[in-house]
């Protein structure tokens, strides 16, 4: 039997056993996102405007990832708002980066895989490079936004009378911890994925100049840096949102008590 099939089944069973209902939901979310990306690829292949398609599909993916991840509506709303803003910023940034850095397409290192394929396909690979950058940061942004809002929400529930400044101080501490581990995950993910490419570079004695300028490697590094930036921004913006709504609610409460 197919080894991948067996492993997928193992994953599903484990998710159900460990996560119960939440595990089933998470698995469903993955399947949904897979189809969303499928649709994205088909639409861009049909020459729809890559920028608009990416923006819409990104919002859908974020919604699926966040609203299926937790039941707490306060947490999910803030996380969703945050990640949409962050992804918009990152998308703008990736367009700028793509303009200056020209990260599109393949290089001579890929020639073995490209054998027999027509390379004049009439599809702008410059746009696709932007799509790749945006899609790959979506997960990291959603994760960071969810983590910070869930944790801060718990802090608020435990001590509802906390002042804005002390809540802000809490958000700094929690944010720092999330930042550290999330950046590490991303770093190891990218490092692991690029072992073959790096070995290739070392074995073929690439000059140092190519290490810091080669398209393949730089694309990976830019994607990683964008992801880290996304994590940082989502933690920042989400904690700002939470502190602001919390302060507002407290003001309302104080006003309400005074009226009585």
């Amino acid at each position: 039997m197919n080894a991948i099939g067996i492993l997928v089944i193992i994953l599903f069973v484990l998710m159900v056993v460990v996560g119960r209902i939440q595990g089933v939901k998470a698995f469903l979310g993955l399947v949904c996102n897979f189809f969303a990306i499928f649709i994205l690829i088909i639409l861009i292949n049909w020459q729809f405007n890559a920028y608009i398609v990416t923006a819409i599909i990104s919002v859908i993916i974020l919604a699926v990832a966040i609203y299926l991840g937790s039941d707490n509506i306060e947490v999910t709303n803030i996380a969703f708002k945050t990640s949409v803003i962050v992804v918009a910023i990152l998308m703008a940034l990736s367009i700028i980066l793509q303009y200056f850095g020209q990260f599109q397409g393949f290089t001579t290192e890929n020639s073995e895989e490209l054998e027999g394929l027509s390379l004049t396909v009439g599809l702008s690979f410059s746009d696709i490079a932007m799509v790749v950058m945006v899609i790959s940061v979506l997960g990291a942004v959603a994760e960071a936004a969810m983590a910070i809002s869930a944790d801060l929400n718990e802090v608020i529930e435990r001590s509802p009378d906390m002042t804005g400044t002390s809540l802000y101080a809490h958000s700094r501490i929690i944010g720092g911890q999330i930042l550290g581990t999330a950046i590490n995950t991303l770093f190891f993910g990218v490092l692991g994925a690029n072992i073959p490419l790096l070995i290739w570079f070392v074995r073929l004695h690439y000059p140092v100049a190519m290490f810091v300028n080669a398209k393949l490697l730089m694309t990976e590094i830019v994607t990683m840096l964008l992801g880290m930036l996304g994590i940082l921004l989502s933690i920042w913006i989400a904690s700002w949102f939470i502190v602001r709504t919390n302060v507002k609610q407290q003001k309302v409460r104080i006003k309400h008590e005074r009226d009585i």
Partner: protein
């Protein structure tokens, strides 16, 4: 402002290069040719005549010609202002690559700058320090791998993984019991996951897994894939284990007399909440990476089953393995921490 300075510096760092570096000062498009391939994709081929002013060594002006297709799948269009990395072949110079260090450097500076503004100087420097140490360790492992012919790749990268985990956890958490337990659970879960993967692969005789589709292979692909998977799983598991252990230690600080079951339930509920989004992170990174190839193959008239088999096969395998690692980390961490804590309480 610092970002602008970094960008300016890296735009003018040509003197650091041994290869000739030049800046495009004028581009003239010479001819355009419309072509249609066998799959009815039409594209335009352009030829550029580029005037390049050399920025290091001999400061003179040279002319290069470059042809590119409008879709820029493999060829590149150059514009005025672009900096190029050139290579001497005989007496003529060829374009090696666009010089990208300014863009990447500016982005990295932006990230570090924002990190510094957000968290304290100390926290940021520790984080940066751990990343740098990991890169050095990684470089060292690569060096050993490339320079000794009979190195055991799997063993080498397993050792590297252990060093990675120790270094990053020690630098982020400090030398505490919390760090020790996180490290222990991380390594335990990673070993379990890789063991599971090896079992399934052996039982099914690698059925349906196409190791031959791996890119940039310079040595046996199976071990290389394992090395990749170990590092990837390690990062994901470490993230989750750190979160769960941190929460459980928070519980301990609040009240000492807790039982195994309290720790177990709390750990499981936190783990449940984060595992879905964490798997999503890895999933998105992997699927984005395969996209250019998927587009190219689609345009070449391949069907989806073939594309999935060729481009996504190993990626899906890797994501699924990381997912299993992430899920396994939840009960392993909860149980281990609960067990250690419960024993500590009875000892007291």
């Amino acid at each position: 402002m610092i970002v602008a300075m970094a960008w300016l510096f890296l735009r003018h760092d040509a003197f650091l290069y041994t290869n000739p570096v030049g800046q495009v000062t004028r581009v003239s498009e010479k001819e355009t040719q419309k072509i249609t391939d066998e799959h009815q994709n039409s594209d335009f081929i352009m030829t550029q005549k580029i005037t390049v002013k050399l920025l290091n060594h001999a400061k003179k002006t040279i002319y290069v010609s470059n042809s590119y297709a409008q879709s820029q799948v493999i060829s590149n269009k150059y514009r005025v202002g672009d900096q190029l990395l050139l290579e001497n072949i005989g007496s003529t110079k060829h374009i090696l690559s666009l010089k990208r260090d300014a863009v990447v450097g500016a982005l990295a500076t932006l990230l570090v700058g924002l990190l510094l503004i957000y968290s304290k100087w100390r926290a940021t420097s520790w984080l940066m320090f751990s990343l740098v140490i990991n890169i050095i360790l990684f470089g060292f492992a690569l060096f050993i791998n490339v320079h000794s012919k009979d190195a055991n790749v799997l063993l080498l990268f397993s050792v590297l993984a252990i060093l990675f985990a120790t270094a990053s956890l020690a630098l982020v958490l400090g030398k505490t019991l919390q760090m020790g337990i996180t490290l222990l659970t991380t390594l335990l879960t990673t070993t379990l996951t890789i063991g599971l993967l090896l079992c399934v692969l052996r039982l099914t005789n690698n059925a349906g897994v196409h190791f031959e589709t791996m890119s940039y292979v310079t040595q046996v692909p199976v071990t290389l894939f394992m090395a990749q998977t170990i590092i990837g799983v390690l990062g994901a598991v470490m993230d989750e284990a750190a979160d769960i252990v941190a929460m459980q230690f928070g519980m301990r600080r609040e009240g000492i007399t807790r039982h195994f079951s309290d720790y177990w339930h709390a750990g499981m509920s936190v783990g449940r909440e984060i595992m879905g989004t964490l798997i999503n992170v890895l999933f998105m990174i992997f699927i984005a990476e395969t996209m250019p190839m998927v587009f190219l193959m689609l345009r070449n008239g391949n069907n989806w089953t073939y594309i999935m088999d060729q481009t996504m096969n190993l990626g899906i395998l890797q994501t699924v393995i990381s997912g299993i690692g992430i899920v396994l980390a939840v009960p392993v961490t909860s149980a281990l921490v609960g067990w250690i804590m419960a024993r500590k309480v009875t000892k007291l």
